[in-house]
């Protein structure tokens, strides 16, 4: 059974949902506080699947995920690099996605950098176009050509909530979007109910290229703003009382658990 490490930083708050999702997906999740990793009480490399869940790590005080990214880079850099190089799955959701981007692990185009070396950040997640925090349900299309191991073979659209104020994916240079597409690193895009690219509010934050989630070149690290862990049971669907169902986020976790064996 895949051991899943759900990493809890100060201010993380969607760790329990992520744990529940991983358990439903057949994994053996454990919520581990960052301090436990740093103190050596737990070893990242004992786990098969790493989840960085949503929340407001360190209050998002200096920009969403900024301090968490620093902690990952400065204090866990080496273990994390090995974990990723091994091809083990890493899933960053919302604040976890922000941290992965700001730590340079996504989109991870320029390979790996040595600990302490400051690389140019290629993209960021910044304030929503609407300048507001927004909580709403969105449709996500798994991009057919993506190398992402989490979304490969997903049958249809995902239907999951977003809940963030800083989810607007902005590349440093516009050609980056094309490059990500070419390399199959765009894993999930915001679409309307019919699966077509659409504007606000289907794309809730104004992300370039309607990007909701991207992966690293190897496809084993996925970051996404929406919350697949909040739609793992039929009663979480906003219209289950209308008889609607489907679009569960659970398969994302099943993929992670299976890849982490």
């Amino acid at each position: 059974m895949t051991r899943v490490l759900i990493l809890h930083a100060p201010g993380t708050n969607r760790d329990r949902e992520a744990a529940l999702a991983c358990a439903l997906a057949g994994g053996r999740p454990e919520i581990v506080h960052l301090n436990q990793l740093l103190a050596g009480e737990r070893n990242l490399l004992d786990y098969g699947f790493l989840v960085l869940p949503g929340g407001f790590s360190y209050g998002d005080d200096l920009g969403a995920g900024t301090l968490w990214a620093l902690a990952l880079r400065e204090r866990l850099g080496e273990a994390l690099r090995r974990f990723v190089e091994d091809g083990r799955p890493v899933l960053g959701i919302c604040n976890g996605f922000q941290a992965l981007v700001k730590a340079g692990l996504l989109p991870g185009l320029d390979g790996h950098r040595e600990a302490g070396e400051a690389a140019e950040r290629q993209a960021t997640l910044t304030r929503n176009r609407s300048a507001r925090f927004e909580c709403r349900w969105v449709y996500l299309r798994p991009e057919p050509g993506s190398v992402c191991s989490f979304t490969r073979g997903l049958p249809g659209l995902l239907y999951v909530p977003v809940a963030h104020g800083e989810g607007n994916f902005v590349p440093r240079e516009l050609p980056l979007i094309e490059e990500l597409r070419t390399r199959g690193q765009i894993a999930l895009t915001y679409v309307d109910a019919e699966g077509r690219p659409a504007g606000y509010p289907d794309n809730p934050n104004g992300s370039a290229g309607n990007i909701a989630g991207i992966c690293n070149p190897a496809g084993n690290v996925l970051g996404l703003m929406p919350h697949p862990e909040d739609h793992v049971l039929p009663h979480q669907h906003p219209r289950w009382t209308r008889g609607e169902s489907g679009g569960l986020g659970l398969p994302i976790f099943v993929s992670g658990v299976q890849a982490g064996c």
């Binding site: 969607r14 329990r16 949503g54 301090l67 927004e134 809940a163 009663h235 219209r239 289950w240």
Partner: protein
Amino acid sequence: MRYRVIVGSAPGQTDPRGAGLCAEIATLGIEGASEVQTFDLYFLEGNVDDDAVEYLARELLADPVVQRYRWERLNGAPREEPLEAGTWAVEVCLLPGVTDAVAESLLAGARLLGVEGLTWAATGQRYLLRGRLGEREVHRIARSLLCNEIIQQYRLGPIMPARTAVRRDGPWVERVPLRGASPEELARLSRERVLSLDGAEMAAIQRYFATAGRDPTDVELETLAQTWSEHCVHKTFKALVDYEEYEGDRLVRQERIDGLLRSFIRAATERIAAPWVRSAFVDNAGIIDLDDNLEVSFKVETHNHPSALEPFGGANTGVGGVVRDIIGVSARPIANTDVLCFGPTDLPFAALPPGVLHPRRVYSGVVAGIEDYGNKMGIPTVNGAILFHPGYTANPLVYCGCLGIAPKGRHRRQARPGDRVVVIGGRTGRDGLHGATFSSAELTHETGTVAGGAVQIGNPITEKLVLEAVLEARDCDLYTAITDCGAGGLSSAVGEMGREIGATVQLEQVPLKYQGLRPWEIWLSEAQERMVLAVPPEHVEELLEVCRRWDVEATVIGTFRSDRRLVVRYGSEVVADLDMEFLHEGLPRRELRAVWRREVPADPGRLPAADPGELLLRLLADPDIASKEPVVRRYDHEVQGATVVKPLVGQRNDGPGDATVLLPLAALWPEGAARAPSGGGQPALALGCGLAPRFGMRDPYAMAWAAIDEAIRNVVAVGADPARIALLDNFCWGNPQRPEQMGALVQAARACYDAALAYGTPFISGKDSLNNEYGDGAGGRIAIPPTLLISSLGLLPDVRLAVTMDVKECGDALYIVGLTRRELGESYLHRYLKAEGGRVPQPSPEGPALARALHTTMRRGLVRACHDLSEGGLAVAAAEMALAGEAGLHLDLRQVPREDDADEDLVVLFAESNARYLVEVRPEDEPAFVEAMAGLPCARIGQVECIPHLVVTGLGGREVLNLPVRSLRRAWKGEAKA
């Protein structure tokens, strides 16, 4: 060395904050602003050099993709920089002593990056305003939008935050000469020290110290004032009340009431004696059973005065405070609620009373404060209401609620002698002094300048960590009692925990944000995010270890005693030594006079002719009724994954749900996983609320009944079992020393008793906020409308029974449940017809039987949609069901069960009678539904139509209303016509 770092948007990047501000400036009536640019300021001090600052700016302070930074070394004040013509610079920073969470994170981040030399950091904002603006306008923009001088300061130009709070003059510990004071001197003392104590109370304190043969210290006097504050002991609700009720000049009722709480609110709970109520009016929150293993706690608080002065901070700490109440019953918070009452947002600036913030600013600040705290703590904000009335302009109401869940039997509530007093969480500063007594005073035009210390900013992340540490300590059985530091700070928390045994506290042990606090300030500080635990000596080490793991500061500050004395020391100096019995029972009971004059409503006669369709569109667009989606979406209502009926429901996820239904699973991790796979079959919780302040001015009894009826209808409509509903009462009132205000309070409390008994719904918790009045200094007074919020917590036996209000399928039948009466007093119909008088909705005796019968039909799956009729009556409810379900409705008013005098189309459409629901039933289920409702007012009044129009046949058999659902939606959502 001291540095200043400036971070702004990179060229070509948008500045959403700036764009938002630019639009806000226009709403001030200032036309000239063409652009606003925003920057973040960081001030750094310590043993750091240019390289370190450059490194911090690049790695920590600026996002290299969308931002640019520059920094400067400061020698003395920051230098002015030349600005282009037509550009103004405004800089804002916090006042000394106000929590600066970002600065704390900055210091932590610098340490992560290996920059060790920083000793101090502060943050600020810089705004560049462009356009045709004069200096006076810029000051007005700064004061109205950029800076709240209660917690911040600004300059037109570079600003420099002061490094530490200024030490005030005066003695370290003051002896207050009380023994020889005359009644006038006592009154002056109470006023000058913001003690909010009356003559009898001051005299009781005087007698106590006369017997003791000494004068009190300032610490003792403040401790008594906080413990005896209205906020902490509810003097008004416990007072003996001499009540007189008049009809015209005739006295029709006279009685002596032995306390409103005892006689009405608690009495109802005791009479009902529901076996599933575990704790009512005893703990920090009311507690009920969820099932055999779990209990649910619920508490609603108000934070009105702080929110009036500093809307963001006031609402922010209001949420933080009520969440701590839930932590204080050893539970995990699973939902927040908020109900807000504001002045009209279109109030002209000229009509604003002096010293009062504009309602629009209060509104946006309060919503942002709630959003910040709830979202960051990861607690879904799932239920609430927003109402507008001119009476709330100077006294906005901010009700914050929190729901928690815990395994049964784990909450410990009895400290033992010898247990250590441990304070955990945030540090203590000079913030929030006099909060408890301040909240009992009325606001005036100059409150803001006097009471600045009573307003604070919260730090939700600290509270999240405290929560996790407390729950781990609970599961390891490390404490014997716990309470939060709320109003009155440590004095109140330790005083309450040690009530039966006594305690010694060493104030010099309390961790401080900065030095220089006098003993009474440490003892009374209402600094946020602190809890006090009673920890047996053998568990102290383990508790400290748990806290360390969660990055929570924990400090032993004293020991519980066995002699019922409260001894407070600073070092070896005894600064307070009080008898717990006097502290808690020495308060003389208040005696209040209450007078109520029954009104005989003027009969407005027949209604003027008006187009029902046009009226409906206007009602749908009324700020009270219109969609609150823009606010609801700013609150995370999905976090924790438990929200199975969401605040917004229907085909487009935008219809107004009656109540939220929660199925907490993740909150129970790891046990929750075992509950998940079956999905259904489990009990779920429904959260609703009711309030009807419009009726309160005329008939507080009817107002209270209507609030209770609505709160119950809300949860019944989504499937809650009427036999399993608990209520919370939150009274917001004017000055109870005025007999007519007190009379209204008696009326409302009596209705609480009567309605609770009629419905069999016990009260489990309540709070009151009195003196919500404003004095303008020139003799003018504004009191709020008497406002009672009733929050309801219902239980669905099985989550699969949940029902939403959106109609589901054309061809289904529509039934109205309940009786429509000619009750138009203070209705929205009257508002728009500019009509006055008429009866306000009275108690519907058939309400409880209707709720029970309706629930039986829900249990059998006969109900596809259900919506309660409230503001705007049948017409608004039908419109909402149609737009949420994106289907048409055809209603025939001739079929509506009504009293004889409800004989006009407008009455049937818009009366706001209690105890009514609109229900959708499949044709094949109609016989069973009708049979179950037999003998009750219930009738088929129409059906769901495929053609998306709301069509109404009037009493005369003609079509009186025909509107496309699209138009209803546009009106309700405030969307411009395409």
